[in-house]
Symmetry: C2
Subunit: 205 residues, 2 copies
């Protein structure tokens, strides 16, 4: 299909869109032709938003979450419980936990998990700054909310060792069958952990 | 989910992506965070490609296809048959026909079809310039390749009336069951037309 593009400029724009994850050349073409039908101002607003984001975005000095200011809205919010830190892998995980509206503490964004296969070691992650925060003394609990993968478990264990000896409670989010899941379709490892980590039934879930 | 975005800049970029057809807020977020992980140069190349396209793209003076030059590659190609013009709705249709590698003539891009419901009348389309091209005298056949919809049929009929009296053969692309389609799942109108417009079987398809 490539050589039949009527325009080099079109080809370039489609090529750029097609680099995005989950966007093939057909979808890229559809998106580009959609933008081409908009007026110049709309197209420049689109392009400008992403360039400005990349150029001006900051990361919170405290938790490394994305932010418009040096310290993010969550870390600087006096209504949040500064004694509890939830450790997550990335910005999307912060948003996922925020959306549950179940957590009122602060976050710590690692920027990934330990993954020797991908060449990511502890020094590539924000683990030292987490230890510093805990050493600050006001932190009572660190909740590990990483992915339930081998890399996530490795990272959990590394953080556990780094924080051992410090006066802080270390917890891990519960793993188990998802709300609404049927038992027979749950994988055996998850189901096994669910049984081992069963909790007292109090009449409500 | 809206108010929980950690950054106004992020919110803006996601909002712009979410305006694209078929892109919801979750996908928009995924795309923006992907771009955010790229280096500044990559992000600017992405944004630049679409702005440059919008700013510098030309439309062929002859056929109104997208082009980098005043007259497009197809119209200026001496190897193409200038006596046959295929009338299509938009740029994507040109590419679709080109991809079949079955057509060696030129195109004429209308820029849409007559659709009173959407406020598109004949004067909004490149119909007059088609008539001028045919009046030029070197065109022997005009192939109507519009969508098989009421609007497409209306436009076909309008062009038919405009070209009547001129010395040009007017044809319509065949409608029928698609290659590989099973008869029982074909809608009755298509199947009916297929039967009425049957062609002599010569041993090959």
């Amino acid at each position: 299909m490539n050589q039949q593009y009527p325009s080099v400029l079109l080809e370039k724009a489609v090529g750029e869109f097609a680099k995005l994850p989950g966007i093939g050349r057909k979808t890229a073409m559809r998106l580009v032709l959609h933008l081409l039908r908009q007026d110049a101002q709309t197209v420049e607003a689109f392009a400008g938003a992403i360039v400005t984001l990349k150029r001006e975005v900051k990361y919170c000095k405290v938790c490394h979450n994305i932010s418009d200011t040096d310290v993010c809205r969550i870390c600087s919010n006096p209504a949040r419980d500064a004694s509890t830190i939830c450790v997550v892998e990335n910005i999307r995980d912060v948003m996922a936990v925020e959306n549950t509206q179940q957590f009122k503490g602060l976050y710590h964004v690692l920027g990934g998990v330990i993954s020797p296969m991908d060449g990511i070691g502890p020094s590539d992650l924000q683990i030292d700054s987490l230890v510093e925060r805990v050493k600050g003394g006001s932190v009572k609990e660190v909740i590990l909310a990483l992915s339930s993968t081998m890399e996530g478990d490795t990272t959990n264990f590394y953080i556990f060792r780094k924080l051992s000896g410090l006066d802080v409670k270390l917890t891990v989010i519960a793993r188990g069958i998802s709300i609404g899941d049927e038992l027979e379709y749950t994988d055996e490892v998850t189901l096994g952990r669910s049984i081992v980590n069963r909790i007292a039934f109090t009449g409500t879930m």
